[in-house]
Symmetry: C2
Subunit: 271 residues, 2 copies
């Protein structure tokens, strides 16, 4: 869920900046350093040197050579047992990412308001290719337990937020997501591409999507889009409640209203 394959290549640079795309001429060093960072996961946030080598697929000697620079800058830290972990400094720099923390900062007051109304989990998610990444989850202590983790990924067709994002994604992205084998978490998980297409169409028509016990048998989630000035769906806001506890229609009204309020708060075009 938290380890990824290589992202697709970036779009070419603007002609104002450079006549050619940035070359990857720095050799393998940066790629190796990034592989070391990518070796950590939610399940394994603390790793020894040998674990780092194994999980990054790099020789121990190579990893050892690179750790010095990563430690000095604060990309990594060591814990009391001498194991390595992602450092506070890297987290600080990464918290400047406009697509996660920047969006989160502007959305927060509205998420809090929604959370205080529904007294349940409220989440914010963005799409990365054909996957959904959760960038915020707030919840009072009485909320129903969820599988969502901030910075984590869940199935784009099994979560309401994912369904909203996929419903407004380019056709090629939808095809990619629907062509995958979808893990069946519960008897209610939708795995049939025909039914999922209907759900996506309905999400576009109604302005919200519902995941009814698709991820766990005791939860229901409802999501609505967050749009930019030019109508692009840039994020999804969702509420995850205990199944059967709330009217879906009433919840959908609250979530859609929250999505619109966040959309209005996003007045710069390049989030």
């Amino acid at each position: 869920m938290t380890r990824h394959t290589l992202r697709s290549a970036p779009s070419s640079p603007s002609p104002q900046e450079s006549g050619s795309p940035p070359a990857t001429a720095t050799g393998p060093v940066i790629g190796r350093a990034l592989r070391i960072l990518g070796a950590f996961s939610a399940q394994r946030p603390h790793l020894s040197l040998s674990e780092l080598a194994r999980r990054s697929g790099l020789p121990v000697s190579t990893v050892h050579r690179m750790l010095g620079d990563l430690l000095v800058w604060g990309a990594l830290e060591r814990d009391a047992q001498g194991r390595y972990r992602i450092g506070l400094r890297l987290w600080e720099v990464a918290s400047l990412a406009p697509r996660s923390q920047g969006l989160r900062e502007r959305a927060l007051p509205y998420l809090e308001d929604l959370s205080s109304l529904v007294r349940e989990n409220v989440q914010l998610a963005v799409r990365d290719a054909s996957e959904v990444v959760f960038i915020e989850r707030i919840a009072p202590s009485c909320a129903v337990p969820t599988l969502t983790r901030v910075g984590g990924r869940l199935g784009i067709t099994t979560t309401a937020a994912g369904l909203v994002l996929l419903a407004h994604a380019p056709a090629a992205v939808q095809e990619e997501a629907l062509a995958r084998t979808i893990p069946r978490h519960t008897p209610f998980t939708l795995t049939d591409s025909g039914r999922l297409r209907a759900v996506l169409a309905q999400a576009r028509t109604c302005g919200y999507a519902v995941s009814d016990r698709q991820l766990s048998t005791d939860t229901l989630s409802v999501a609505a889009p967050v749009t930019t000035d030019d109508g692009e769906v840039t994020a999804a806001v969702s509420a995850v409640v205990r199944h059967g506890s709330t009217s879906v229609g009433a919840l959908a009204d609250l979530v859609r209203s929250c999505g619109r309020a966040i959309s209005r708060a996003l007045d710069t075009p390049d989030l």
Copy 2:
């Protein structure tokens, strides 16, 4: 507030892992890549190639060479205008940092409960050397505006959370913080090291610290420690309210209670 000097060197590795500290033998490449990441700030989350070069102190050609690797992995992304920004992938990896997101995840329900009681800003902060880094801020839309940003730094002696963290820091860290020239944000900002020493002593005695209009004339903050099993102060929880709106004593009771609840929730030793 968000750009930093180089961190102090890390502690040497455990003998089990290696007989010598990791060498910084990967040459300047990783250091340069990290300087590029460090060029972004809260005020400048989107940068052009030439801005990146200027702010990192590296030649344009060097920056250009490194951007390819950083883009492909997702450490950086390009916005609609072709400018560079911190990427979602880097944020995902960084969200695994135990000292920020890990701590935040466990503290969240208690922060939400406190926020719903005080209907104001609730924050979680950790100490990095002699500075305070805010790792969470939650606030309903009615909350008093604050200068705090998640991933941002504020003066350790001017915030209640900072005072709590400093009060329990090693003596050398306290001396370093008190030896600095403290910017005067308001007429109430404490800048005298003698008075600050008394405030720190009081924070240790009372179990909480107060910043009374030190950062802005309309806010008061109260903070309490979060401690690990072995009594180490690992974080501080604070509430920031409008000055004059609440009894400090009553607020301190709520914040201390929240700090203790989070401390109890932290049952692994290496956060």
